[in-house]
Symmetry: C2
Subunit: 277 residues, 2 copies
């Protein structure tokens, strides 16, 4: 889960996501609209008898905040583990066998991080007809899945690409909220499949965006264009705009593949092979 505003547990219920499935929560920054749902969610997890830890990632002060939470509303039957980003660009805040998560420092009124979720390379899939033809052993199959060529008993070399299906593309998602417009971020999120970028203000409120260290929807679109992302999602619209679709239209003039996102919207990035077969 990324960020946890007030009412998150209600939204989870509406979306039929059971909190027991949530093990990692990435918090961008300690402003209320990004964390006020944490207390209720963590308490409900306790009420449900959770025993496995919840991992929280975010600015260093998140640990203090959780200590205060536990002081007043604890104890919980499970552990809360807090993790803060390390020093230096490109260091990971999370890694497992399938994905990596990289924190991206943003420019907002308090210490804020975006997060870049990137899939790891998946093992190659053997072509069934080739397995039947050459009957490689288990050790050989492991080597082929790692990308090695296959050598037949009579010494013939079968190139790896003939033995396997084309590899899957590594999917990626970047979440950048809240932040002022930072063109330098484009390099960090270059080519991601899906980029969420905050778009608090409309283009004609760019001055206000600058003062409050937020972005306009045009600026979000400009970053998406610079980064060459697959699709841009914008949100975090100020309540001053009765019709936030206007912000989406402004963004589309700069980056057409833009959508405005609302509570409950779902986007998926399909799993695809790098080359057609």
């Amino acid at each position: 889960m990324i960020d946890c505003g007030e009412g998150t547990q209600i939204r989870l219920r509406q979306q039929r996501v059971t909190p027991a499935r949530i093990h990692h929560i990435f918090i961008s920054h300690l402003h209320g609209d990004h964390v006020f749902g944490l207390y209720g969610l963590l308490s409900s997890m306790g009420m449900m008898g959770r025993q496995v830890p919840v991992n929280l990632y975010g600015p260093g002060r998140l640990r203090e905040l959780m200590e205060q939470y536990l002081k007043y509303f604890g104890p919980l039957p499970y552990e809360i583990r807090c993790h803060a980003p390390g020093k230096g660009d490109g260091s990971l805040i999370y890694e497992d066998e399938k994905i990596t998560v990289e924190p991206i420092p943003l420019k907002h009124r308090t210490r804020t991080y975006g997060y870049l979720f990137r899939e790891k390379e998946k093992p190659l899939n053997l072509r069934k007809e080739m397995v039947e033809e050459f009957q490689p052993g288990i050790a050989e199959m492991v080597r082929i899945k790692r990308g090695e060529d296959f050598i037949t008993n009579d010494g013939r070399v079968i190139p790896n690409r003939e033995m396997v299906h084309p590899p899957y593309r590594r999917r990626s998602y970047a979440y950048l909220s809240d932040t002022r417009f930072e063109p330098g971020l484009a390099e960090r999120v270059a080519g991601v499949d899906l980029l969420f970028h905050e778009a608090t203000f409309a283009g004609n409120d760019e001055k206000l965006a600058g003062e409050t260290l937020h972005s306009t929807s045009r600026q979000a679109a400009e970053l998406a264009r610079l980064a060459g992302v697959g699709r841009l999602l914008i949100g975090h619209f100020s309540t001053r705009y009765k019709d936030p679709f206007r912000l989406v239209e402004e963004a589309r003039e700069i980056f057409p593949r833009t959508d405005g996102v609302m509570d409950g919207d779902r986007y998926s990035v399909p799993l695809e092979r790098v080359a057609p077969e």
Copy 2:
């Protein structure tokens, strides 16, 4: 406002209650389902540019919690004033020209207070036809409204009850949540028009109610019966009951004028005169 669970500001919006109208919030106890909406509500009030103070009433630790809140999420453009109940039964925690509020210590797992809201006596209303007949002066009218008899210029005494309409009944509302069944509370809330009493459990879970210091709906009804209240409202039902109406039916066997209350329900106590005219 009494208590402030997660999502309160969303419910307020649905009910078209603007937070600017809220000046006093009575908190029963520091469990999440009674306070986790406070942070969001207070922050939103700040975002809306509120300048007048918000008064919070509740257990002493509420002040500490607010200090922590302000440390992480402040400052606010307005003041939060915290008030804890004094020692001794019957002391008021709030009073203005129209109502008094009396804290009622409850028996729960943490320091908890119920609140009794009682209207003050309203000035008597003069009968228009009597004013026309006797033409009392302003000072005399003030005395009559206070309950004094009227003496005519020729020395005749007109009893006060002939000069005025029957007085209004003083309306009252008591909120008791969370608490174990405490028959002694009946005396504190005797005769109130409207009693909210928690009813976390069904009758067959009375043991569980005792262990967690909650009440069953039958116990809530028993308290209403002992106190002779006008109407009983029950709620705070455990999510273990798919159909909470069963709890309402159990309560009605003991106290028929019982309703189960849900988010957004409204009850009003009509303003009535003590005697028909």
